[in-house]
Symmetry: C2
Subunit: 215 residues, 2 copies
DNA sequence: GTCTATAGCCAGATAGAC
DNA sequence: GTCTATCTGGCTATAGAC
């Protein structure tokens, strides 16, 4: 029994290595450009071996996307534990975290409207359930922040939700990183500012001057 | 001579039809997913005929992208003619226009960092010159708006420039359009609001209440 | 479960008749 | 310049030995 458990551990470790490679390649090139040969080469195994673990390229990407959502949920639940923080701060913390993940090269880009990946994901219950769960947690914070006057009450919550998802994959991050002009922290603070306070940059609390815009 | 001119007109018309198809397909599926067969089928000619007009898929897309930039430049120059408008209004007008183009299904998505299209575009002088020209016009308005206090002076102008480019291809637009919950005009106004005033939605002029956020 | 080798398919690009 | 037919290469996925 111990031997089987050990073998299973090795198996898990290999699958985890595969998923890490897939995750990185999905972030770097996207599903359509990424090839299974690249994944195999990156992991250091033969392509045929990959297909013993996963039945298709779509499933491979799907499991990697699920793992990303699981990490997001883990982060969200850790934030939820600190229930004293105002909702707007929770949302900013989430946005900051997604940007950090993207700067680390581990945030897959949103599956474009027409990608073959999208069709397979919407039919993937494990994926959709997690996506729904993430959306519900964020949605709760969004409406709470609206009630508190920290988010624009004139905007439908879904619009804010979609915007937060989109900013997690914002190409501006990659361009700024590639320009090499700013530190990772500065990039994140600037994009957080444009996301929540806009290009106009009116600080969130009108009474106290210049806090959110230029830290 | 008249006959040659007529033939040239037909040629131009055909090439324009090709570019329109490419433009639409680039917006719909992106460069990597779009196939030359699709383009040929959409135009209604044989694939080999396409290659009499253009030497490669990359060139095909490049010429289509140049046409998009030419249209943008045309719009920008029309705006410049109205020099009385404050810079911030010029920028909002541009952003509104790019969103209209995107809703019309005619805005190609930004070539992703790794696409084979990107490499060919950076080596395309006709494309890069136009991109530079667009950037300079927008850059002038951005710094003017910063001096006028209408844009956050703490943000580098390039960050604003990249953000405006990214918002022209913002996937949030497509998602909202697909949801069918809002009119095109409402979608554009909401995204303009989140772009310039952020999710917090503090109006641009603190003294006059609720003007930009919820018109 | 790992490998090498290959099937099967579809893409971009070309040949050659008209 | 347009077409049909084809080449060439790269991709997903599988066969079959070990």
């Amino acid at each position: 029994m111990a031997k089987i458990s050990f073998r299973e551990q090795v198996l898990r470790a290999r699958e985890d290595a595969i998923l890490s490679s897939v995750n990185r390649l999905l972030a770097e090139k996207g599903f359509d450009v990424m090839t299974v040969d690249e994944v195999a080469a990156d992991v250091g195994i033969a392509k045929a071996s990959l297909y013993k673990h996963f039945t298709s390229k779509e499933e491979l990407a799907g499991v990697a996307m699920i793992r990303v959502l699981d990490r997001a949920l883990e982060h969200l639940r850790a934030l939820q534990a600190d229930s004293a923080r105002p909702a707007i701060e929770q949302l900013k913390a989430v946005a900051r975290w997604t940007m950090q993940v993207q700067l680390a090269g581990e945030m897959p880009s949103l599956p474009s409207q027409n990608s073959s990946l999208r069709a397979s994901l919407v039919g993937n219950r494990d994926y959709m359930n997690r996506l729904l769960e993430v959306s519900e947690i964020l949605g709760g914070w969004i409406t709470a922040a609206q009630r508190a006057g920290d988010l624009n009450p004139a905007l439908p919550p879904e619009v804010m939700l979609y915007t937060l998802f989109a900013r997690a994959c914002d190409p501006v991050l990659g361009v700024l990183k590639a320009s090499g002009q700013h530190s990772d922290e500065r990039i994140i603070e600037m994009l957080l500012s444009t996301c929540f306070d806009g290009l106009a940059g009116r600080p969130a609390a009108p009474a106290r001057a210049g806090e959110a815009a230029n830290r």
